[in-house]
């Protein structure tokens, strides 16, 4: 049947038809392949079924928090408090806001702020005025550096650098927006140190670098493959023929991607090199065999027929095993990896098809001169190795076992680890940016904790604050942003006291004032059912990220409140105080972390004891100060003559804290010299009601602060005192969230997410994928080889060199500390696919006549295949080693390891099969000439 096909194919009209059809196919495929779309979405690598990934997508959709570009700028003058620099920063921020695809920009120049207005109320505006000319820069510096939520986030603590945050809008991709950001900002900061960090820049860099490397290196890879082919065959047209056939296969695979709407991505960008390297093997074997047959039968159709008849089965088997290895990736749960396996497999199948149609058709039409085997030094050396292995079987087996045992030991050290640094070297721009942001702004890695619940409930807000304060003390957490912070600030702006609101309607009302701030929409959903805590991490190392992640997850699993009941102090004083002590302790620990204060080990116990004791009376001086300021302000409805004002103030201060309205009216009336029922007194009474209550609360907290500082063993004027005073105002809240279920209980659900979780999910996925794809590809190859060789044992024999190669290569990874990641996890499938080819060809040529020793089969098989196998290993190895010359670290790893793997696979084939092969023939049909028993 094969001969019938071969004789039909070599007829000139048929051969011409095949060539013309192939050229037409190539032209159409080439044209179509130009339309392949690029996809740089790093999220595409995440398996959608993983619950961590599902949560990440939900959070990303709800808060858009991951697509934030961070541009760090260190001005050439050394300080950001320079009028020229602040002017440029302001202009840059304004210009960036107008870039299409950017949802929101935040920098020192547009961060909102408020401060007390000496004439009453607050002054609201930007922290840094625009324009800044005429501003006292020293005073501005003092004001800016006093804002704890700004320092370390927008300006470095040494005032030597700023960072601009640009959140990408819905649907905007890094590839679209990143060039515009650079184009907008580069002219503004010419001469300054500028770094480009955050997800969009890293994603863009990885994609651009990989693309650039592939564009630059693929031609060189082709040249190297061509040179090796020329050295092997010494026949330029034949070598070019093999490469053209492979090129057509690549075009065909890309065209199919266009037709099916599959985008090109970072993983698929390595497909051309891989296809050039693996797909060219079939044409090489055809050409290699043709040389021998042409020497025997003369160049022309008969030699082509003999080549097809003698080689097709082996080439098909080799192709099928490669396709099986690649298609085993279809079992992976990472879509780009599946696409890579599918389309590279299709490319290999096309290369195989062309090597059995187009290549022999061209050879039939344009006969090449004979190229008899010369048994060069490589073949002789290989034969010596194989013969030595066969003749010294016991030491060889021991040696192979020793290598495998050592390899397995090292393989166990390989860990799957996804981290950003895996994508670039230490000197790459993203690494420099990471160092800049880490040194000056506490890092650029973020962990997120989503809280689901009714966020308008004060209890929920208090628990969010407690969680944030706790997270701030965990390893490698440099800062925590949460909705409780803007809520405390807006409460201070609108009410006058920096604390969380007491009632749900008050919280809901204040949320409306935060609606205009896009930064807040990153922390809480519009319907207030979900909030996000954003933890900035000071390290990008996987082990550090994992340590933080483990600590956060442990807290969420064991200590986070998932159900609480708002309890009034009158209902259960102990539970109320214990709940508040927990919040206070968390806040104090977070503040101590920032200020370097040392807190007592029995903090909770001391706090509980302190809170159980009767509270100190309100600080009269503080009350006098606050009331005096308010009475003189336009917020007070009643205009009071300056000479009457101190009397009114003192009359109110002198009242008992629980004074009734009548008593207040009487006191005010007396001070004003008016009747209690007068409109002015009633207006003042009405206006004073909630104001006095708030001032009393602040004054009580102020009075309690020195006592608590003493309990903590800290001086009253310690930096922690302000934090203590602010937090103590919440002691008078009507209710506290007490953990527990029951009637009226509110629930909170916590989910930890963010890039470290993704990396972990991806690492787990890569590990699982590695086992499933490697296992399935080996089983598939075993089945194919068992069928081909009509023996399960022979099938097992054929995969032994491949298994040994995998052990050696992965062992080397373990030895050199190379992690298993998306790139390196592809190597096993490539090894299985390409490595088994060598065994197929060696076993196909393995034959000894009944009167010959097995060593005759060894020598015959090696001499028959060594040239082609080493040529292929050299081409694949050289093709991949070119990738190590680029900047993209994943390509460097894949290039180096695959290159080494091919050499190891060839060596393993020649060293292992002669040791374990005991049959005289593995081919179904004899390859020995009937008249000769001599080894060739």
């Amino acid at each position: 049947m094969l001969e019938t096909y071969a004789r039909w194919l070599v007829q000139r009209p048929v051969a011409w038809a095949v060539v013309v059809a192939t050229v037409f196919f190539g032209a159409v495929a080439g044209w179509l392949s130009l339309g392949v779309e690029q996809d740089d979405d790093v999220l595409a690598f995440l398996p959608r079924s993983n619950p961590d990934i599902v949560a990440f997508y939900e959070i990303n959709e709800a808060f858009g928090s991951t697509d934030v570009a961070l541009v760090g700028v260190a001005p050439r003058g050394g300080s950001v408090f320079d009028a020229n620099f602040l002017g440029r920063l302001d202009q840059a921020t304004q210009d960036l806001r107008e870039v299409e695809g950017i949802d929101h920009v935040l920098s020192l120049s547009n961060v909102a702020d408020f401060e007390s207005n000496p004439s009453g109320g607050i002054v609201q505006g930007n922290l840094v005025p625009s324009p800044v000319e005429g501003t006292d820069l020293d005073a501005l510096r003092t004001k800016v550096m006093s804002r704890a939520h700004v320092v370390g986030n927008l300006v470095s603590s040494d005032a030597g650098a700023v960072v601009i945050y640009a959140w990408l809008g819905p649907g905007a991709t890094p590839r679209q927006v990143v060039p515009k950001i650079r184009e907008t900002l580069e002219p503004k900061f010419d001469g300054d140190e500028v770094v480009w960090g955050g997800g969009p820049f890293i994603s863009d860099w990885i994609f651009s670098t990989t693309q650039a490397d592939m564009a630059a290196l693929t031609p060189w890879s082709a040249v190297v493959i061509l040179v090796i082919g020329l050295l092997a065959f010494r026949d330029l047209p034949a070598t070019l023929l093999g490469l053209v056939a492979t090129g057509l296969a690549i075009a065909g695979a890309r065209a199919l991607m266009v037709v099916t709407g599959t985008p090109f991505n970072v993983v698929l960008s390595s497909m051309p090199v891989i296809l050039f390297a693996t797909g060219s093997a079939y044409a090489i074997h055809m050409l290699s065999k043709y040389g021998g047959h042409a020497a025997r039968l003369g160049a022309g159709p008969e030699a082509v027929v003999a080549t097809l008849v003698g080689t097709t089965r082996n080439v098909v088997a080799a192709g099928l095993t490669t396709v099986a290895g690649l298609w085993s990736m279809l079992l992976m749960d990472i879509a780009p990896m599946r696409d890579f396996g599918l389309f590279t497999g299709i490319g290999v199948a096309l290369a195989l098809l062309l090597s059995l149609t187009f290549v022999p058709a061209v050879m039939a039409l344009f006969p090449r001169p004979a190229a008899p085997s010369t048994h060069g030094w490589i073949t002789r050396a290989t034969a010596a190795l194989a013969m030595a292995a066969r003749e010294q079987r016991r030491p060889a087996i021991l040696g192979i076992l020793a290598v495998c045992v050592l390899g397995v030991g090292l393989v166990l050290k390989v860990d799957a680890r996804m981290e950003l640094s895996a994508f670039f070297g230490d000197d790459a721009p993203p690494a420099r940016s990471e160092r800049f942001l880490q040194d000056r702004f506490g890092g650029s890695q973020f962990l997120q904790v989503r809280v689901r619940g009714d966020l308008t409930q004060p209890g929920a807000l208090r628990e969010v604050a407690r969680a944030a304060d706790t997270f701030a003390t965990l390893p490698h957490v440099s800062s925590v942003q949460g909705v409780h912070l803007p809520m405390e600030l807006i409460h201070e702006a609108m009410v006058g006291s920096r604390r969380l609101p007491d009632q749900a309607p008050a919280a809901a009302s204040l949320f409306k004032f935060l609606d205009s701030d896009p930064a807040v929409s990153r922390l809480v959903k519009d319907d207030r059912t979900e909030a996000l805590l954003v933890l900035r991490l000071d390290s990008a190392k996987a082990e550090d990220l994992e340590a933080s992640l483990d600590a956060v997850e442990a807290w969420v699993a064991h200590e986070a409140t998932t159900s609480y009941t708002p309890i009034a102090r009158t209902q259960d004083p102990a539970a109320f105080d214990a709940a508040f002590a927990g919040q206070l302790a968390a806040r104090l620990r977070a503040a101590a972390e920032r200020t370097g204060a040392t807190l007592p080990g029995d903090l909770e116990a001391r706090l509980t004891s302190f809170l159980a004791a009767p509270a100190a009376p309100a600080d009269a001086e503080r009350l006098r100060e606050d009331l005096g300021r308010w009475l003189a302000s336009p917020e007070n409805l009643v205009e009071i003559a300056p000479d009457r004002l101190p009397a009114v103030r003192d009359a109110v201060v002198a009242l008992p804290e629980d004074a009734a309205d009548e008593a207040i009216a009487a006191a005010v009336a007396g001070a004003l010299g008016e009747l209690p029922a007068s409109m002015r007194v009633q207006d003042l009474l009405f206006s004073l009601g909630s104001v006095r209550a708030d001032f009393l609360r602040d004054a009580r907290a102020a009075a309690a602060t020195p006592g608590l500082m003493a309990v903590l063993g800290l001086p009253a004027d310690h930096a922690l005192a302000a934090t203590v005073a602010r937090k103590l105002t919440e002691r008078d809240a009507p209710t506290m969230p007490v953990a527990g279920e029951g009637e009226g209980a509110q629930t909170l659900a916590w989910t930890v997410s963010g890039q470290p979780v993704l990396y972990r999910g991806l690492s787990r996925s890569v590990t699982a994928n590695q086992f499933s794809s490697l296992g399935s590809s080996l089983v598939l190859v075993l089945i194919i080889m068992s069928v081909l060789l009509r023996s399960v044992w022979s099938g097992l024999l054929s995969v032994m060199p491949t298994v040994a190669t995998i052990v050696v290569v992965y062992g080397a990874m373990g030895w050199m500390g190379v992690h298993l990641d998306i790139g390196t996890s592809m190597i096993a499938s490539i090894i299985v696919g390409a490595g088994v080819d060598y065994a197929v060809h060696l076993l196909a040529a393995w034959e000894a006549s009944p009167d010959e020793p097995i060593t005759a089969a060894v020598r015959r098989a090696v001499e028959d295949t060594a040239h082609a196998i080493w040529t292929n290993a050299g081409m694949v190895g050289a093709g991949f080693v070119v990738l190590t010359l680029g900047d993209a670290k994943p390509l460097i790893n894949v290039g180096a390891l695959t290159s080494a793997a091919m050499v190891v696979a060839a060596l393993a084939t020649f060293a292992i099969l002669p040791v374990f092969a005991n049959k005289r023939r593995y081919n179904a049909e004899t390859i020995l000439p009937a008249s000769s028993g001599d080894p060739r």
Binding site: E98, N117, G121, V123, N126, S516, S521, L637, S690
Partner: protein, 248 residues
Amino acid sequence: MNARLAAMTLACLLTPSLALAGAGDDLLVKVDRAMSNFQDSTITFEVLNLKPGTSSPQTMSFVTRVKGKKSYTEFLAPGDLKGTRVLSLSPTELYVYLPEFGKIRRVTSSSTEQGFMGTVLTQQDMAPPQYATLFSVTDYKTSGTTATLKLVAKPGIEVAYKTLTMTVDTTKNVPTRIDYLGTSGQVVRTETRQNYTCNSSGYCMFGVMMMTDHARGAWTQLRPVGGAKLNQGLSDDLFTQRTLQYGL
């Protein structure tokens, strides 16, 4: 001689432009008058607001009373804003009353671009129009009943957007479209006003106003409900902190 000739040529070339710009300034005055030709007004607005990244707009409702440069606004919906009252004495001085806290807060603002309650409108957008006071016309074109004006903020005037392109329906002297240009010249916001109804004194009220923030993909739509009640003799006492605290 050459310099004098050049100056004369320049003068001849500039004169029509200056004349046109003058006509544009006149038209801008008419626009302001057409939109604020009343002693006082009371209008209830229904608002649809689409925030970035969302697909369904939120609703809001408020009634606003205007007299001169002062306004008094009370929110009617949604529930978490109901009862919130805002007294504006100027675009940069507000008094806010939050019913949940029972007190008023004076907020003076140095920023003109702060969003208004989560909408894409700035406080300046909510204030009575003063285009002629804030802007100069630098380019003016007419075509049939439509005039197109390029407005540039006058020196020393603080506005969120310094360059505007306004399309005016010259039959009513009302703006039908305003493009707000960013610092690099591209349109960053677009305001459209449609379905004007005008009274006999020349005051015109839009039927629907839509402000789109192109960069953020957000928009806010204002629709007056029940028409504008004009010249009802609103007392000056209405625009005081006392009314703000007690309510109407």
